[in-house]
């Protein structure tokens, strides 16, 4: 039988739960809480989705022509340096 945990405590630890930065004991208590609390489950799912979403490189794109402009700038610097 695990000790109960409040919603507030769960919110404080939800990020550490995802990162596995909590003790197995707290993990078990939280898991038990999620079973019976749809609000906290929604917070957990949503937070996990945020992490997955922003971790997906496809969510951020390089602007068109980024590489070209970068190397043009680099070339300009290189030719300036070589003139010194």
């Amino acid at each position: 039988m695990v000790m109960e945990i409040s919603c507030e405590e769960v919110w404080r630890e939800v990020s550490n739960y995802l990162d596995d930065e909590i003790t197995p004991e707290l993990r078990a208590r939280m898991r038990e809480h999620f079973k019976g609390c749809k609000h906290c489950t929604a917070v957990l799912d949503g937070t996990r989705n945020v992490v997955q979403l922003v971790g997906d490189a496809k969510s951020f794109e390089l602007p068109a022509g980024f590489s070209d402009r970068l190397y043009q700038k680099l070339d300009r610097k290189l030719s300036k340096d070589s003139q010194l």
């Binding site: 989705n49 190397y71 700038k73």
Partner: protein, 263 residues
């Protein structure tokens, strides 16, 4: 934390993200590992071994040597695999494409000028991303100083109490049709902009750039517990900003998402 039992609902996130020495592949087509910190100083041999995984590609150490001997083309080869990560590092902090591109370019030029100072105790990409992050943070701080009336930010900077989720909109799945849409990018960008700079930088390093908590703490010169506290707030705030639209309301224009509050 190692070997902890994972419930089925955990594995989705954990297997994807791992938590120890996660190697971020920001662009899978590059087949190039972006992060691998923690090699002992001077262990260039080990680092090169990891780096030469890409068949036929010159090792990082070799490329750096060539650049230092005056082979400018080798520098392009060194930078090319990290372009995306460098831009992301500046974009997510500055939240403005033109500024971010400028900062990214500046970071690459600085890396070139200071390459002789690179010690090889981290990967070149890590070092370059750190330069880019610093460049972006410096510009962000400058911008904030210019905004004399930016008291909103300052006021929120002071909040260190518990962050309470604003609503409990159910967001079980990321709708696949929402991925890679312009709306999603805009929503993300707005949500990121809603974070204070100090929460944004932690969130970006950890969740966008996939640095570990320890690496994030090192990069920012703060403690691990501060990273965790800021990360929690940032993630919850991002969820609050994104969840209400995630059931499709921002892609369909519908605004009647389910708002559930326990009080």
């Amino acid at each position: 934390m190692h070997g902890a039992q994972l419930s089925p609902e955990d594995t989705k996130a954990s297997t994807k993200r791992g938590n120890v020495k996660r190697v971020a592949q920001l662009d899978p087509t590059q087949g190039h590992e972006i992060l691998e910190m923690g090699a002992p100083p001077g262990s260039l041999a080990t680092t090169s071994a990891v780096l030469t995984k890409r068949q036929g590609a010159a090792s990082e150490a070799e490329l750096i040597e060539r650049v230092l001997r005056g082979d400018d083309e080798a520098f392009r080869e060194l930078v090319h695999p990290c372009e995306h990560a460098v831009f992301m590092a500046t974009q997510v902090i500055l939240n403005n494409e033109a500024d971010a591109e400028d900062a990214a370019q500046e970071a690459v030029l600085k890396a070139f000028t200071n390459l002789a100072k690179f010690r090889g105790d981290s990967k070149f990409s890590t070092w370059l991303i750190r330069i880019a992050t610093n460049e972006a943070l410096m510009r962000l701080r400058k911008q904030r100083h210019q905004k004399l009336h930016d008291s909103f930010d300052e006021q929120r900077e002071g909040e260190e109490g518990d962050y309470v989720p604003r609503d409990f909109a159910d967001w079980r799945e990321i709708p696949s049709e929402a991925l890679q849409t312009e709306e999603l990018r805009q929503a993300l960008s707005q949500a990121l902009a809603s974070l204070t700079p100090k929460h944004r930088e932690v969130f970006v390093l950890r969740d966008v750039q996939h640095f570990t908590i320890e690496e994030t703490a090192k990069l920012l010169g703060i403690g691990k517990s501060a990273v965790k506290t800021r990360l929690l707030r940032a993630r919850l705030q991002m969820r609050d900003a994104l969840a209400p639209g995630m059931d499709g309301s921002w892609s369909t224009g519908r605004r009647d998402y389910e708002q559930v509050r326990p009080w």
